[in-house]
Amino acid sequence: MTVKKIRIALAGNPNVGKSVIFNALTGGRQHVGNWPGKTVEKKEGTLKYKNHSFKVIDLPGTYSLTAYSIDEIVARDYLVEEKPDVVIHVVDSTNLERNLYLTIQLIELGAKVILALNMSDLAEKKGLRIDERHISRLLGIPVIKTVATKEKGVKKLLDKAIKLAGETKESKRKVLTYGKELEEHIEELRDCISKKLELPFGYTPKWTALKLLENDKEVIKKLKGVKNSAHVLKKARETRVHLQDVFGEDVDSSIADARYGLIAGLIKESVKKPAVNRISMSDQIDKVVTNKYLGIPIFLLAMFLMFQLTFEVSAPFMELIDEFFGWLAQTASASIPAGWLSSLVSDGIISGVGSVLIFIPPIFILFLIIALLEDSGYMARAAFIMDKLMHKIGLHGKSFIPMILGFGCNVPAIMATRTLSNRKDRLLTILINPFMSCGARLPVYILFAAAFFPNNQGLVVFSLYILGMMVAIIMGLILSRTLLKGLSAPFVMELPPYRVPTIKGALIHMWERGSLFLRKAGTIIFAAVVLVWALSSFPAGVEYGAQESYLGQVGTAIAPVFGPLGFGDWRASVALMTGFVAKEIVIGTFGTIYGVEEGGLEAALQQHFTPLSAYSFLVFVLLYVPCMAVIAVIKRETNSWKWPLFTAAYTTAVAWIVAFIVYQGGLLLGFV
């Protein structure tokens, strides 16, 4: 018997346990990547069952298949263009009505759908009696009850998938009818399409007609490239206007009404609800958590705990990693004869690997916490609570968490923007995140504050954090009104019931993120470290980071640019350039160049800076190009070099302007 690979796509709303089913099906045999050319995550897995091999694709969680978000476009394009053998639609049994809206669209798409009534145990607990056979008869598709967290029903899904994939005859799937008037126009348009057009990507004429009446931008865009489509598109526009006149409402409303009408009928016939609706545990929890008075304090406490756990728990591990690589570098340089090879191994390669691995503890811990918050349902509440504030600066409620995390480290903070589904909100949050002053900048502030403002150290450091936030807000406002205009997302968001998250799911989630960082961003960080090493060590024979090294030469050349900011000295330029590796390295570089140990650094700095130029320098350190780990992670998250390069350029420009204002303004006001 030939073994054929069966391709299964998993579709479903967010928060229905789709990824739990995916994990139950594929176990550890998963691969996480990106959809080609998109920033949307693609999860694939394989499995063998009863002599068949399966490839399972986890589509992004969506509520619908219109071209509303990039997730929906990705999911739909895959279903329409790649035509998986079977689509398993995972639905939340406790919330069938809204979930079935997607089922109807999947059936309309012509997909071979299996309906997985997930969380059927929770539905039973709520007193819902669901007749899955009746639903199956009404929709003409197989329906199976599952409890993904207990792996119940998962085998049955595979049995059905094997059977369905083998079926060649026309399916008995029922087709939704939209009422006489609407249906007549859909048919008219369908006939016109099948006569005139060679449809691309396996679109069916009826589906295309429906999408045109829905004024679906993506379908229209794709049809524009097809011969003779102008006539069809014009006819579709006219039909839309006509229908609007007939019904007194737009076609979108009529279509949605018809779909929900069908669902209401189906639910009435096949689901028995308990007579009295008990107040659920989830509602009880929510009464406290999003309470008018308690909501914000609880949220702030949650943020504080997340921040503390991420950075405090990881701190000793980070120190260990740091010490280990420091020791390794020393050992290496001691055992290799002095020279550029020894330096390459210890200062280049070992410190390069070290600066990648140092991020592992905070990233893994953070993503474990984020997974727990998301799976428990709290993340949506956090967005609900913060949305008003964030909306004022052109952001989304969900942007708040990444912004706060930026105070710890911008790398995991930028990775945390994955919870934002809208591209504009996500990009904006990524672009202004570097202004949130991360932990690595703090040692620089502390050193300078101690050297120049011994009586106001706290105030100086605090002012820099505030300045960073203000610049982030101002740039958020500017960017959302210019570069990232008109792509904003409305805040129409489900507040899913609170659930106890599964540890397994959270751990898998953590592992995916962490390993992704290592694979993708790690190589870039490593390359940058080696590059900076090479620039500091050559031409051969120069001392590390000396004025004669390439780095020193570049520093000397660009130093005049910083003259108006008060630190036009080549040493400052070199320190800033090495700060690109990691901001705290600025201190080490000053130590090396001045040829002093840490204790003598303050005195050496006092000779080269005035209090005003020192403050101006700190402002520049706060705002200029984020470290290369951030650049690498922006490249990874936006899937292009455009945005990381833009970030590097615009943050540095902003830093120059603000430091200029601070220094020149300070001079005018009589400070020195």
């Binding site: 509520y63 619908s64 219109t66 509303y68 406790t94 919330n95 009505e97 809204r98 809206y101 829905e214 409402e249 737009d250 979108d252 409303s253 949605a256 009404d257 929900y260 929510d286 999003t290 309470n291 008018k292 008075y293 909501g295 914000i296 949506a380 609900f384 609570i385 913060m386 949305d387 008003k388 504030l389 909306h391 409620g397 409305p490 805040f491 129409v492 968001m493 489900e494 507040l495 899913p496 019931p497």
Partner: protein, 80 residues
Amino acid sequence: MEVEMEMTLDKLKPKQKGKILSSKGSGDVHRRLLEMGLVKGAVVEVEKVAPLGDPIEVKVKGYHLSLRKEEAAKLAVELL
């Protein structure tokens, strides 16, 4: 002469219920609201207002949905 204020979803108070009469919006937001179940005839109950006064949380079709007042203002409702 009687001036009748049109009732919209954003004006409902917590624990009040309304039936959706029409949706005035257009474009993507409008379509999203429809998809999430805010169709004509649907019964909506306002659960609460966020601590900062916006957005609101409603119950519709058996689940909880949050939306901003500016979006809720586009939905005409009949107070039940």
